[in-house]
Subunit: 290 residues, 2 copies
């Protein structure tokens, strides 16, 4: 798979991935009305950044796209489902996502909650398509831990609203909320390549990428517009969210994020995932600017 | 494990199961405030009927409790998490569950939603404790399908509110919403005993038990009191829920449920799960009366 320089107007993932992702999202025998709900948020686009990381690391390891497509679909389903819950009035209360009305604004809160639940479960289901039994069992263990970490990060994010957690706690929350999935994107292709000894290290690198990503996001929330973000800016402040900007200035936050990102990139290079490291270097320009 | 006649005042599951269940619910490194949220709904008691089915079928197959405890914990976590989402204002809007305030009434909706998400993921995590790799991979596939069916049943339940689905669609919704987990309770111990050829049949039997269970529940919702139910009665009617009572009288519904239950019991006997069949016969007296 190619990961070209101009990341704005190209697909980062194989062309067939979108239809595979929809196949993964929709359970057997789902009626039409249910299919519509399950694919609504996925259809809003999104960069497919996480699947792109999976395909890129796989390529670094000499695995082909076919071998890791269930991993790529699982991370995107988990991510999308978590966004649906995130946007709910009782959590981030965001009416827009990726420039479209949020799922609960279209179908109501109850349906949005359960739609996301089904997408969570379908994320687990698609992992069954991994053929090698040992790899499948390993990936399930890793993926369930990843999902739990994501949930713990989300819960901490809510719990910290209006409170004064330490900077360290906020970074730990970012690591779980955003970094856990990245860790799986890095680690799962290694596991599929029977290199399970690096899983702990890749999880750590993913965590650091997640922290960087989340800090850039905090900055965008302050500096961005609805058009550039695809969602409402200034939400963190209005929700009394605990972000790193409670403790550090925007330039210092940017510097902190750059350091976390740099650490993740160097770590990937050290593990021989050079294409992915280069991909992240190119992507980082967008992450930082947008 | 003994499943004595007087089911009201005895434990159906091994004594150590409660602490194992809590261990399964709580992720590593969870802070105290998070542990409290994650165990709140589990601490409200509940009959542990689903784990009891798992232990009973396992016993029928000559497996010991230790071998199937991850399965028993997984079904209870999945069930409890689904109840937390069920009780939310935008779904069933139930302030009470098992006689205690519902999770969202204590911690707020946002925390309740994500707490249940974590419990869903922990249900998957505990399956990792199954030692045999092939069994583990099989159980993961079965469990993710089960969870998806549960979600599909929930979503259909919401979608049908105030509408007029056919009686057949309502029964299918019951099969998914309530029967899918029972099917896994029956099928998973067979899978653990390397008897995977009966999984389809046990899923069907579980589906029928679920339909029976749900119809008895519909009847209780009409005839019960808050004291006997531990939750608010008359909710189905006030929510314009689509229940079988839209189509059949209470005595006819009771007869219908008895037939589904009888089918499930006979099927278990035919598969040699006689202790479980007897267990269900004894339990059915409570199911019908309460």
């Amino acid at each position: 798979m190619k990961t070209p320089d101009n990341i704005e107007n190209v697909h980062w993932v194989p062309e067939w991935f979108e239809s595979y992702l929809f196949h993964a999202a929709i359970p057997q025998n789902a009626p039409e009305w249910m299919k519509e709900m399950l694919t609504y948020t996925l259809s809003a686009g999104g960069k497919r950044f996480r699947p792109a990381l999976v395909f890129s690391v796989a390529d670094d390891l000499g695995l082909d796209d076919e071998q890791v497509k269930p991993i790529a679909a699982a991370v995107e389903l988990l991510h999308s489902a978590s966004l649906i819950h995130d946007d709910l009035p009782s959590i981030d209360n965001d009416d827009y996502r990726r420039g479209k009305l949020a799922c609960h604004k279209v179908y109501g809160e109850g349906r949005a909650i359960v739609t996301a639940d089904i997408l969570f479960f379908q994320a687990f289901s698609v992992i069954s398509e991994i053929e090698d039994v040992r790899t499948k069992a390993n990936l399930y263990t890793m993926f369930s831990k990843t999902a739990t970490q994501l949930g713990m990060g989300e819960l901490a994010d809510i719990e910290y609203e209006g409170k004064h957690p330490t900077l360290e706690s906020i970074l730990e929350m970012y690591r779980m909320k955003t970094g856990a999935i990245f860790g799986f994107c890095f680690g799962a292709p290694f596991a599929a390549a029977q290199k399970e000894n690096v899983v702990e290290e890749t999880t750590d690198l993913g965590g650091r990428l997640g922290i960087a990503y989340q800090i850039y996001d905090d900055i965008k929330d302050v500096l961005g517009t609805k058009e550039t973000l695809g969602k409402t800016p200034g939400k963190d402040l209005s929700h009394e969210k605990s972000t790193v900007l409670k403790y550090v200035s925007i330039p210092d936050a940017k510097k902190m994020a750059d350091e976390f990102l740099e650490f993740a990139i160097s770590g990937l290079e050290a593990l021989g995932a050079c294409q992915t490291a280069n991909f992240l270097k190119r992507v980082s320009r967008t992450l930082k600017m947008k």
